[in-house]
C-alpha cells in the first residue's frame, strides 16, 4: 500500500497549493466558456442538403443532380430511400433538414401535374427552411417545366439536439482540456526529481509501481471534477446529451487516465520542472489530429492512420456519438482502444520509472 502513502502526500501537495488547484479546476471552466460561447449558434455554410428519394426513377435522380449543381447547396452523399430513416437522423441532429421526393414524381412530371415536395427541417432552426425553400422552388419549376406553383411544403421537426455546434465542439474541448493533465503530471514528477524529493523516496523500500500509482492518484479527483465541469458547463451552454451520460463520463475518464499515463512517462524521462514544456510538442500536434477542431477525413492517409492509432480521436468520436444518441455497442471498439492505451501507458511508465531510480 506504499502507493497510497505516496498518493496521499501528492494529493496534499496539490490541494494545499491554491495556484495549482486553481489552474487545474479553473481551466476547464474557462475553456468551455470561451469555446462554446464563441461557437454557440453558428451554422456552417454552404447548406448541407439531404434528400429522400422514394421515386427511385431516372427523373428523380436527374433532379437531385440538378440540386447538387447549385452553389449554395452541398448535397449530402447519402440519398435516403426511406423517409423514416431521414426523419430519425433529423430528430437525432445528424442532419439539419431533408427534402422528400415522393413516389410518383416521374409520372407527375410526364403528366405535367403539380408535384408536392416536403422540406423537413429542425423546428429550432426555422431560418434554414425559409432559406432553402425558394431555392428548391426555383430549381424545381425549371426542372419540371412548370410555372411556380410548384408547392414545397415546410415541415418543422423537433430535434433532440438543441445546438449541434456545441455538441460537436464540447467533446473536443473536454479531450483537449484533459490532455493538459499530461504536462501538469509531468511537471509535478519532474519538480520532485529536481528538488531531490524523489531521490530521498528512492532510499525507502517503495517500488516503481508505487511511484507511478502514487503520482497518478491525486489526479483522479481532478479528472472526475474537471469532467463534471466540462459536462456541466457544456450543458449550461446548450450541450445536449441524447445518449447515456454515464457512458460519456466513462469515455472522458479513460481519456484522462491516458493523459495521466503519458504525463507519467514524460515525467520519468525529463530531469527538471522547466523541461515539462516539452509535453506541448506532443500535446498540440496530437490535438490537431484528434478531430477536436476539424475532421481528419481530409488529411493524408498517413496522418489519418496515426490519428486512428492514438487514443484521442477514439475518445472524441465515441463521446460525440454517445452525446448524439449512440448506444454502448456502437462505441465498444473505441472503449477497447482507450482501455488498451491506458494499460500500455501505465506499464510503460513503470518500466521507464524503474530506470530512473538508480543511475
Amino acid at each position: 500500500m506504499n502507493f497510497w502513502e505516496i498518493g496521499k502526500r501528492n494529493l496534499k501537495e496539490i490541494y494545499r497549493n491554491p495556484i495549482l488547484l486553481g489552474f487545474l479546476l479553473g481551466m476547464p471552466v474557462a475553456f468551455m466558456l470561451v469555446f462554446c460561447a464563441a461557437a454557440g449558434g453558428g451554422q456552417a455554410s454552404p447548406i448541407s442538403l439531404s434528400v429522400v428519394d422514394e421515386d427511385h426513377s431516372q427523373t428523380s435522380s436527374a433532379f437531385i443532380q440538378n440540386l447538387g449543381s447549385i452553389e449554395a447547396i452541398e448535397l449530402n452523399e447519402t440519398i435516403y430511400s426511406e423517409k423514416s430513416q431521414a426523419q430519425e437522423d433529423l430528430e437525432d441532429g445528424r442532419i439539419s433538414f431533408y427534402l422528400f421526393i415522393p413516389s410518383g414524381f416521374e409520372e407527375a412530371k410526364q403528366a405535367q401535374q403539380t408535384v408536392n415536395l416536403d422540406l423537413a427541417y429542425k423546428a429550432a432552426d426555422p431560418m434554414i427552411g425559409l432559406q432553402v425553400k425558394p431555392i428548391i422552388e426555383a430549381v424545381g419549376s425549371e426542372f419540371l417545366g412548370v410555372a411556380p406553383p410548384l408547392t414545397v411544403e415546410l415541415k418543422g421537426t423537433e430535434s433532440k439536439i438543441k445546438n449541434e455546434v456545441v455538441n460537436f465542439y464540447a467533446p473536443g474541448i473536454a479531450v483537449f482540456g484533459l490532455m493538459i493533465l499530461i504536462s501538469t503530471a509531468a511537471e509535478i514528477i519532474a519538480g520532485d526529481r529536481e528538488k531531490g524529493f524523489l531521490a530521498r523516496m528512492f532510499t525507502t523500500p517503495a517500488r516503481p509501481s508505487d511511484f507511478i500509482l502514487g503520482y497518478s492518484l491525486p489526479f483522479i479527483p481532478v479528472l472526475i471534477v474537471s469532467t463534471l465541469i466540462y459536462l456541466g458547463v457544456g450543458m449550461a451552454l446548450g450541450l445536449t446529451v441524447v445518449g447515456n451520460l454515464g457512458h460519456v463520463f466513462l469515455i472522458f475518464f479513460l481519456m484522462g487516465l491516458c493523459s495521466i499515463g503519458i504525463g507519467m512517462i514524460v515525467g520519468s524521462l525529463i530531469k527538471s520542472e522547466s523541461q515539462a514544456g516539452v509535453s506541448w510538442i506532443f500535446i498540440v500536434p496530437m490535438a490537431m489530429i484528434s478531430g477536436a477542431w476539424f475532421t481528419v477525413e481530409n488529411m493524408p492517409s498517413a496522418v489519418k492512420s496515426v490519428a486512428g492509432a492514438l487514443p484521442f480521436i477514439h475518445a472524441i468520436d465515441a463521446s460525440r456519438a454517445v452525446l448524439n444518441g449512440s448506444s454502448f455497442s456502437a462505441i465498444t471498439l473505441d472503449i477497447y482502444w482507450l482501455v488498451g492505451w491506458a494499460v500500455v501507458l501505465f506499464a510503460a511508465g513503470i518500466v521507464l520509472f524503474r530506470r530512473t531510480m538508480v543511475s
Binding site: N2, E5, I6, K8, R9, K12, E13, R16, N17, K195, G196, F197, A199, R200, M201, F202, T203, T204, P205, A206, R207, D210, M357, V358, S359
Partner: protein, 306 residues
C-alpha cells in the same frame, strides 16, 4: 558480519573518478565519519550505499545485502538524511514523518509513537502541525534527520548533517547523534574537523575519491602526524634569523609576532636557545597538540576548507 562493507568501490562519471577503490568496514553499532573536502567523494559513496547510484566497479553490502543485487532489502534497513534538506514542503511535521514511516511498513500507531518521541527530542513539537515550508533552515534540518530515524533503521546515513547550521543548532544535533552511539550503526560525512573529532569512533579521511587515512581520531593524530609544531611569540625577528630557521626546519608560518615552526622531532629548547643567542625577545613558546586539520594537511597537502 559488518554493518557496512565496501570492496574496491568505484564510481566514474564520464572521465571523472568520483570514488576510487574505497575499502571500508564499519562494525555494527559503530559511528564512522568520512571526512574530506567538498568533491572528495563522500556523498557519492553514500549515494552508492543507499542504492541511488550503481558502482562502476567494486561491491558494497549493508548488513550482508549487496547494494546492486538486493537494493530493496538494503532500503528496508537504512535511514538516510540527505545533504540537502529535502522535505515535503506543504506537509506538516507529522505528515512528513508518517510518509517515511509508513513506506517503511510501520503501523499508524508505531508512526505516531516514534514521531512524538522524535519531535520532542528535536524540539519541533510546538510547530509540529505547521506546513514545513515556513520553517527555518535549522528546523528543517532537524526534521530531515528525524525522518531518517522514524523507521528505527539499523543503519543510518547522515550526509553532512550540520552543513550550513549555526553553532547552537549544530550543537543540538551533535548531542542527539552522540546519544545514538552504540545503538545504531552510523555513517556520517562531514567537512568539519571538530564534528568528526567530537562524534566519531573512527574516521576515514577521503580525498579525490580515495581513503587516504583510517583510524580513531587519536590514532590519526599520533601515528600519522610525524610532524610536531611549536608556536613562539617574539619581537624583533631579523631576516637573517628567519633565513637560518627556514634552512633548518621543514616549515615556517609567520603572522606578525607569532611564529609557527613545523618539524619532525622538534627540539623545544634548541629553538628557544637559538633565538635568545641571536637577541630575539621571546615572550612565550609552546609545543602544540596536533589537530585533525594538521593531519589532513599532512596527508593531502591542502587545507580542508578550500
Amino acid at each position: 558480519m559488518n554493518a557496512v562493507q565496501t570492496l574496491k568501490l568505484t564510481k566514474k562519471f564520464d572521465s571523472l573518478v568520483a570514488v576510487n577503490g574505497v575499502d571500508l568496514e564499519i562494525k555494527k553499532g559503530e559511528l564512522f565519519s568520512l571526512l574530506g573536502p567538498n568533491g572528495a567523494g563522500k556523498t557519492t559513496t553514500i549515494r552508492m550505499l543507499c542504492c541511488l547510484l550503481k558502482p562502476t566497479k567494486g561491491t558494497a553490502s549493508v548488513l550482508g545485502y549487496d547494494i546492486a543485487k538486493e537494493p530493496f532489502e538494503v532500503k528496508k534497513l537504512i535511514g538516510v538524511s540527505p545533504q540537502d534538506t529535502i522535505l515535503s514542503e506543504r506537509l506538516n511535521c507529522w505528515e512528513n514523518l508518517a510518509l517515511i514511516g509508513k513506506v517503511h511498513g510501520l503501523s499508524s500507531n508505531e508512526v505516531k509513537e516514534r514521531s512524538k518521541e522524535l519531535l520532542e527530542t528535536m524540539g519541533l513539537m510546538e510547530r509540529a502541525k505547521d506546513q514545513v515550508r515556513k520553517f527555518s533552515g535549522g528546523m528543517k534540518r532537524r526534521l530531515s534527520i528525524a525522518m531518517a530515524l522514524v523507521s528505527d533503521p539499523q543503519v543510518l546515513f547522515l550526509d553532512e548533517p550540520t552543513l550550513g547550521l549555526d553553532p547552537q543548532a549544530r550543537r543540538t544535533i551533535w548531542e542527539y547523534i552522540a546519544e545514538l552511539k552504540g545503538k545504531k550503526t552510523i555513517l556520517l560525512t562531514t567537512h568539519y574537523m571538530e564534528e568528526a573529532d567530537f562524534l566519531s569512533e573512527r574516521i576515514g579521511i577521503i580525498d579525490e575519491g580515495r581513503v587516504v587515512a583510517l583510524g580513531t581520531s587519536q590514532e590519526l593524530k599520533t601515528n600519522l602526524l610525524e610532524m610536531r609544531s611549536m608556536v613562539v611569540s617574539t619581537e624583533n625577528l631579523t631576516a637573517e634569523v628567519m633565513e637560518n630557521l627556514q634552512s633548518k626546519y621543514s616549515r615556517l608560518e609567520k603572522d606578525k609576532g607569532r611564529l609557527k615552526i613545523y618539524h619532525k622531532d622538534l627540539d623545544f629548547k634548541e629553538i628557544v636557545d637559538y633565538l635568545h643567542s641571536r637577541g630575539v625577545t621571546v615572550y612565550s613558546a609552546a609545543l602544540e597538540q596536533p589537530t585533525l586539520e594538521d593531519v589532513f594537511i599532512q596527508i593531502t597537502g591542502k587545507k580542508l576548507r578550500d
